[in-house]
Amino acid sequence: MKNEPIVLASASPRRAELMELAGIQFRTAPSDIPEEPFDGEEPVLYALRLAEEKARAASAREEMGRFFIGADTIVVLGGRIIGKPVDEADAVKILRDLSGKTHQVITAFSVLDKSTGVSTSRSVSTRVLFNSLSTEEILEYVKTGCPLDKAGGYAIQGGAAHFVREIQGSYTNVVGLPTCELLETLRETGAI
């Protein structure tokens, strides 16, 4: 069973790349679940819940595989979840909000052992301080189309790298998967 590749329940190429860099053998199985916070839902719990739901959804659909990883990344500013922008105008608004301030990037992941039904979930938070961004900078970045499928409207490893003045905590967590913590959990659960 242990030789069966781990299943990453995510369509994100960034997460797949991080898994590869960490030397984890895996295959991907995107899981499509509704991503909508409950009213008054605590942000970390929302991310943890989605991570678990993604792992469960993938494990229910896939015939092969024992360990399933689900993950969800959110950006939190002033206690509120900043979602993915709905359009370019929204992306501009979000980046203006983040400009010159510190926000939190929280990635929750869940490792589900299908043979026992037990999932082990964890969340990691990184503080990110943005430069003060000019309108030109924001518009230029939004024009690339990059912000649209990203939590908080930016990707730290792409064209927004120079927006970031300072980060405190895990870098890979901001990209989409805290690999140190994930490796720990994979070892603890016997997945690797």
């Binding site: 409950f38 009213d39 008054g40 839902e41 605590e42 970390v44 719990l45 943890l48 819940r49 678990e52 739901e53 206690g79 026992t116 039904g117 037990v118 979930s121």
Partner: protein, 229 residues
């Protein structure tokens, strides 16, 4: 009344099966037979069939039944609790599932200090879905409320309780049960003095199996045991 014994036995075997399916000990889940709006006689019948733990939603009804029945049953209060009714509960209940605001916790502290020797065990009720019609604190405010309650010497937080929105398919409730468990794990990690998160009260007649799979330790079952009211 034979019917109650049969139904109880069916519910208990469903609980066992759900525990097995999720790799849990059967002893880790307790069944609360919810006898609200049923006469005291049905409690006696269920007692005769081996049931010892009962839940009531209304203070008046609970105290009437508790004084009428001399059986050694354990009572939990599981209904919406108003501060002015708290004074009737010491000496009757072993657990209150529905503390959702500090004012009620303070009144429990006050009443138990006066009338009981040991603190009152409570669960904090969380409105996971955020439905405006439901009681309960939000998941955002839950940790702070638990912290505040932990300063009251005669109230002990033992875990969390929730009522998910109603779904025809019990799977619909799963995300809400899961969230309650995640919230409990989070609060537990804070290691607040005097607080433990050993109890998760979630799941009723229509969805208790799913709740058990998600970690319920107390399931509140009425209709499946006592029938429709």
């Amino acid at each position: 009344m034979q019917q109650i014994a049969e139904r109880l036995s069916i519910v208990n075997s469903r609980i066992r099966a759900a525990c097995e399916k999720s790799g849990r000990e059967t002893s880790s889940v307790r069944l609360i037979a919810v006898s609200k709006l049923h006469p005291a006689e049905v409690v006696s019948s269920a007692f005769a069939a081996g049931q010892r733990l009962f839940g009531e939603n209304y203070v008046q009804e609970l105290s009437d039944k508790a004084y009428k029945l001399t059986l050694p049953v354990e009572w939990h209060f599981i209904g919406h609790l108003q501060s002015n009714k708290v004074k009737y509960l010491p000496g009757i209940v072993t657990l209150i599932h529905t503390v959702d605001r500090l004012s009620v916790a303070r009144e429990i502290d006050h009443q138990w200090r006066d009338k009981a020797e040991t603190p009152c065990n409570v669960l904090v009720q969380v409105n996971v879905s955020g439905e405006p019609t439901k009681s309960g604190t939000t998941t955002i405010e839950a940790l702070e409320l638990v912290r505040e309650i932990s300063t009251l010497p005669f109230v002990k937080v033992r875990g969390l309780m929730t009522m998910p929105p109603f779904y025809d398919d019990p799977e619909g409730a799963r995300p809400f049960f899961r969230e309650l468990r995640l919230l409990a794990e989070r609060i537990k990690a804070e290691a607040i003095t005097g607080v433990d998160m050993s109890e998760l009260s979630m799941g009723m007649s229509g969805d208790f199996e799913v709740a058990i799979q998600e970690g319920a330790t107390l399931v509140r079952v009425g209709t499946a045991i006592f029938g429709e009211r």
